[in-house]
Amino acid sequence: MNKTINQKAWYFVIPVFVLVAFNAAIPLMTVVNYSFQETFGNNVFAWEGTRWFKQILLSERFHASLGRQFTFTFIILLIQIPLGIAIALTMPKKGWGVPVCLILMSMPLLIPWNVVGAMWNIFALPDIGFLGHSLNAMGFDYNFTQQPGDAWFTTILMDVWHWTSLVVLLSYAGLNSIQPAYYQAAEIDGASRWATFRYIELPKMKKVLTLAILLRFMDSFMIYTEPFVLTGGGPGNTTAFLSIDLVKMALGQFDLGPAAAMSLIYFFIVLLVCWVFYNLMMKNEAQS
């Protein structure tokens, strides 16, 4: 086969290169640049080597926010995945209930994140918010702006409200792709509802659930807007997750070097966890 050589084709590729350079490569390189140097403004830089990385990795503040981040992500995964599957299992499979449920489920996903934060902030206010006021009226001493436990409770509740739908929709799609013959076969065998779930539905949903867990892990691990609007990381630093802490360091204290180092470490943690998780799931896939 004769290849036609036409260098003009590059003109079609260049826009993509430029675009990717601007929105990915250049900002990332800036961060890398900052993470190895000290800056005093006026474009004066001094080489610092790996000092910021060591500082961040050894800092108690980073350990604390990383710990909070993992705790938060772990809790919401623990709630959202089973809850999402449970809701998907109870959703109707045909009739007018299907569009109704799907639309209701998609609603929270369509609301802008800062609006979700603002909504829940007002909703949970102890004096005038419906949730806060009701809880207090029932005798609970609830105040999410002052009590760390309440702040965590509210943040988790908000995230569950906002994102469980995603798990529901993915699980629902997975469930719907199971052929009715599987259920009939189980029925003929006399399998219990639990056995049907455990040995037919769950294995058949494995792929979408892997996807759901990955998406929810990444999203919750990088969560910023909603807790920022809801609690601002408070009271104190108790709900300052990684990204909130990062922004505080970068923009609040203007510690650009350590903040850049922290961003990179943060980025590698997300990458590493996703890689490990994905490989574990796929390894099982190859075995079965």
């Binding site: 009939q184 029925e187 003929i188 065998d189 399998a191 056995a195 037919i200 079965s288």
Partner: protein, 354 residues
């Protein structure tokens, strides 16, 4: 032991899926439900199994009315067109699953699974998961699950449809043997007339939710009660043409082909059905007549040649043995074996059934 459907009808909304049907299936028989897609084969099977309830009518099993009895309480098993196995069970666990649920002892399970696995040539892959098997092996696993249970009723819903040709042939040959010395009623749904002929037993021809005819497979094939049953049980499709009969002389309405018929029927006009293999490029039988045709399509399958041709306004399909090379557009002579003609009256009923 017998399975009897008494006036069973199934309606979904305003659609009738099964028109009132009565059918009696005897013990130790293989019964083929033959019909195209949407003929109601699957619905009928689900009603037999108890997976679905009839809108009206009754189902009797072994002299007992089992209408509305749940599938778990009936001793039946089913194999589907798709290869249905538990995805993360091994072949062994899959085959054992119906026994394990009913609480059979481990020793007995082991022995019974081993026996069935051997019968279906699965012994070497008992520790594999369904995903690692070929389609044929997956379906063998599903069949083994159905057989291990010693069911009274085994339902096979187009079990070979998703297999490739070679595996299908192989398994189709084995199937009747698998059920030979079992105390059960087997129901086998298929769209293919050749399946029914190979499996033998009894056949029910179905069309649009109605059982057209039920009887011994060969009888249904050779003496279809009516034109519909004959059409359902013919592949490639049956040739149908109008004829007039005067005395012994018969003649097609649309052309001048004539022949003498020994059929003891009154003079008049009839429809005749001619199966494609009774029109050939060579003479067959003592009473064949010649017909001229213009070749439209010519398909060679190695051992057989399918030739579509036109004669006047009519389209004909012929099936000859061997490779009969014909060119499209060519004028050719073919021969019809008049002994095998099926004569139907104006009500589409077979008249030369003597």
């Amino acid at each position: 032991m017998s399975l009897e459907l008494k006036n069973v009808e199934k309606k979904v909304g305003i659609d009738t899926h099964i028109h009132p049907t009565s059918l009696k299936l005897e013990k130790n028989t293989i019964n083929v439900l033959l019909g195209s897609t949407l003929a109601g084969k699957t619905t009928l099977m689900q009603i037999m199994a108890g997976l679905d309830k009839p809108t009206s009518g009754e189902i009797w099993f072994d002299g007992k009315n089992v209408t509305g009895m749940k599938v778990q309480k009936r001793n039946c098993s089913m194999v589907y067109q798709q290869f249905i196995n538990y995805p993360n069970y091994t072949v062994y666990e899959n085959i054992a699953s119906p026994l394990a649920i009913t609480g059979v002892k481990d020793d007995e399970i082991k022995q019974r699974v081993g026996k069935v696995a051997e019968l279906l040539k699965l012994s070497a892959m008992l520790n594999k998961k369904p995903d690692e098997l070929s389609g044929g092996q997956q379906q063998r696993t599903a069949l083994a699950r159905a057989l291990v249970k010693d069911s009274d009723l085994i339902l096979l819903d187009e079990p070979l449809a998703n297999l490739d040709f070679k595996l299908r042939e192989e398994l189709r040959e084995e199937l009747p043997k698998l059920f030979e010395d079992r105390d059960c009623i087997v129901v086998y749904a298929t769209t293919e007339p050749s399946d029914a002929l190979m499996i033998g037993g009894n056949t029910a021809t179905l069309l649009e939710g109605k059982v057209i005819q039920y009887g011994k497979t060969l009888e249904v094939y050779n003496k279809p009660e009516n034109l519909i049953s004959a059409k359902v049980f013919s592949d490639p499709p049956m040739n149908i043409a109008e004829i007039t009969k005067r005395g012994d002389n018969c003649k097609f309405t649309d052309n001048n082909v004539q022949w003498k018929s020994s059929a003891k029927i009154k003079d008049g006009t009839y429809k005749i059905g001619i199966r494609p293999h009774n029109i050939t490029t060579y003479k067959e039988g003592n009473n064949s007549v010649e017909i001229n045709g213009k070749v439209q399509i010519s398909e060679l399958s190695g051992s057989e040649s399918l030739i579509h041709f036109t004669n006047g306004n009519l389209n004909w399909v012929s099936l000859s043995n061997g490779t009969q090379q014909k060119n499209v557009g060519e004028d050719t002579k073919l021969y019809m074996n008049t002994d095998e003609f099926l004569y139907f009256d104006q009500n589409n009923r077979l008249v030369n059934n003597g």
